[in-house]
């Protein structure tokens, strides 16, 4: 099998339809062997970009380079790219074995080689005994694995995945995330993964690019994007965020004092200039909730009084919303503690978070 996948360079890739621009010029470099995710809301252009890399959608401008060679004019069937489709696109008239062997047979491999490689791939996806089955006889998860095997069996330079887990239920989806990660390690290919599920992307990817309106808004390691979102869209798309508009900013000792309306003010690191036309973003897990006065005297913190609006117990965490003013509400996510009493709706509380967790983010890039 390949030592590692190929590198991919997108250089000003653009797609215009008569009246709409589906892709603004996109330039990005994906390293060999990288697990790279494209995420964004539907219509953000991620599937169009994937289609351009696969060769199904000719770009209006720009270059797509695999290992330094421009492939824009090469038809899909000569690009040697693998693709897992959203609906799997398995061939219903062929058996599991023949589905996986399809690309190998096209490559005119000897019969023994086809059998050997296909068998080996069926072993990897743990469907060795099911080669003779029809696709319709498989479960959703099994079909997903066949789709993976079929796309990877011929050692493609790059493996594209278009929302491959979209059709599976939640538990199976999480299980398949591990499978795909393990699979990535085993076949050591470059994977470009499209999803609208930010958690899925964060769990699996080396790097993520967030797309909106045909543009990559920001790209980087999942943690970078989460901790340093470039604008409000990224902040709210990736994970949950409490976001407040800054009405006014004043210098205050080493920090700045922010007026976020409704008579509420916060402290944040930075200077006044950096706060104009900005928003405040606080992640729910940065926020602590305590009885009134519990956080008195803590330095380097924002402490605000509020009233519990509601409390929701989800698996492993407590999500509670605290009203700070008539409109202003913050959501806090707290670890669930067995047998520990928690506040109830209507309780007076204080919320607290560190100044360093008070992120200032511009509206637009």
């Amino acid at each position: 099998m390949a030592e590692h996948g190929s590198g991919l360079v997108l250089d000003g890739v653009t797609k215009r339809y008569s009246s709409v621009t589906a892709l603004q010029p996109i330039s990005i470099e994906i390293k060999p062997g990288e697990f790279f995710s494209l995420i964004g809301p539907s219509g953000s252009g991620k599937s169009t970009l994937l289609g351009a890399i696969a060769g199904f959608i000719p770009p209006s401008a720009g270059r797509i380079l695999i290992d330094g060679r421009d492939i824009v004019d090469i038809p899909p069937y000569r690009r040697n790219i693998g693709m897992v489709f959203q609906n799997y696109a398995l061939f219903p008239h062929l058996t599991v074995f023949e589905n996986v062997a399809f690309a190998l047979r096209l490559r005119k491999l000897s019969k023994a080689e086809v059998t050997e490689k296909t068998q080996r791939m069926l072993d990897v996806i743990r469907l060795s005994g099911m080669g003779e089955r029809r696709i319709s006889e498989l479960s959703g998860g099994q079909q997903q694995r066949v789709a993976l095997a079929r796309a990877a069996v011929y050692d493609p330079r790059i493996l594209l995945m278009d929302e491959p887990l979209g059709a599976l239920d939640k538990n199976l989806r999480e299980e398949m995330q591990y499978e795909i990660k393990a699979f990535h390690n085993k076949i050591a290919a470059t994977i470009i993964y499209v999803t609208h599920d930010q958690e899925e992307a964060a769990a699996m990817s080396d790097r993520i690019a967030i797309m909106k309106d045909g543009e990559i808004v920001q790209h980087g390691k999942p943690r970078e994007l989460y901790e340093h979102p470039r604008n409000i869209f990224v902040a709210s798309f990736l994970g949950d965020a409490n976001i407040f508009k800054i009405h006014d900013a004043k210098p205050d000792a080493r920090h700045i004092k922010l007026d976020i309306g409704e008579g509420l003010s916060l402290s944040a690191p930075g200077d006044v200039a950096s706060a104009s036309r900005h928003y405040v973003c606080v992640r729910p897990e940065s926020i602590a909730v305590g009885a009134p006065g519990a956080f008195n005297g803590s330095a380097g913190q924002n402490v605000l009084p509020g009233i519990i609006a509601d409390v929701v117990y989800t698996a492993g965490t407590i999500r509670c919303r605290v009203k700070l003013g008539p409109e202003a509400v913050v959501t806090a996510r707290l670890p669930f503690q067995r047998n520990a009493a928690f506040f109830a709706t209507g309780d007076q509380v204080d919320v607290r978070w560190a100044l360093t967790d008070t992120l200032l983010i511009p509206e637009e890039t």
Binding site: P76, Y77, I81, M83, F85, A89, F91, R150
Partner: protein, 295 residues
């Protein structure tokens, strides 16, 4: 109260025995009786007569199988039906393929072009072909006018005209099953084949064509079976040179009044058609499965 609650179970069971499915079965009774009286019974009479007119025995079949004109007509009928079916498939496949990719009003217009001819009777359409194929008809005039011919061709009566007329009338019956099948083929399967290295031709041969086979076999079975018993077009365009089984049977029954021979010819045609149907069901393989699912 408690007792009432207990009797609830048998009550609902009784209710279940009057389910909609049961009702449907009773609704089948009237059409079944109608078919039995006016379709199955006459067919049985025909089959019986083929063995009993003028005397009990297989003499009618011996006359057919002895060779001569009767067997020849039967074989020619099968051959014509096969040729018409093949031509229909050849013409209909690309049409259905293009139609399967249309959407919106374009599809509606194309579908109307296929379906509207069905509203016109085959008799009228066959007469229309007579106008086209006449000695002084449109086709001859055009060919002579264009300098292709010096003298008019005698198309009528003749097998060329029969084939053209039958293909024209049968074409929608080939296009419609193909179209229904092709519209259900997932286009992403072709893209999957392409990204794996199949050029468009290979993708068509290895993926699209096999997946269109149910439509092909349905269309072939339909057109072949209808062509076997086709009467109007061969009667009007074929004449004695291109006698087909249905025309021959009509002659035997109405003109020569040899009802025994007519019955046995009809029985042979029925058996051939039935055999085709069984073969089709075998090939598509899921006939019993579908029936089980439906009941």
């Amino acid at each position: 109260m408690l007792k009432g609650a207990n009797t609830g179970t048998p009550a609902t069971m009784r209710k279940a025995s009057w389910s909609v499915a049961r009702l449907y079965r009773w609704m089948l009774l009237a059409p079944a009786l109608f078919l039995a009286a006016f379709f199955v019974f006459p067919i049985i009479r025909v089959v019986l007569r083929s063995f009993s007119d003028p005397a009990w025995g297989v003499q009618n079949y011996e006359r057919i199988m002895a060779g001569g004109p009767y067997l020849q007509v039967l074989l020619a009928t099968i051959q014509t039906a096969a040729t018409v079916t093949a031509l229909c498939l050849l013409l209909a496949y690309p049409v259905a393929y293009v139609m399967s990719r249309l959407t919106g009003s374009l599809l509606q217009i194309a579908a109307a072009c296929v379906i509207i001819p069905l509203w016109t009777s085959a008799v009228i359409r066959s007469y229309a072909w007579m106008v086209v194929f006449q000695r002084k008809g449109i086709l001859n005039e055009a060919l002579i006018g264009a300098g292709v011919l010096d003298d008019a061709i005698r198309f009528l009566p003749g097998s060329f005209a029969v084939h053209v007329g039958m293909v024209h009338i049968m074409l929608p019956f080939m296009i419609l099953p193909l179209l229904a099948n092709m519209r259900a083929i997932d286009r992403s399967l072709l893209r999957a084949a392409e990204i794996m290295g199949a050029n468009p031709l290979v993708a068509f041969a290895k993926v699209y064509f096999p997946l269109s086979m149910p439509g092909v076999s349905a269309g072939v079975a339909l057109v072949f079976m209808m062509s076997l018993g086709f009467f109007i077009t061969p009667a009007l365009l074929g004449g004695p040179q291109h006698l087909m089984a249905a025309v021959l049977i009509e002659q035997q029954a109405n003109v020569i009044l040899d009802w025994g021979l007519a019955s046995s010819l009809a029985t042979v045609l029925l058996v051939v058609t039935g055999a085709m149907y069984v073969l089709y069901m075998r090939l598509t393989g899921n006939a019993t499965g579908n029936l089980k699912g439906a009941l």
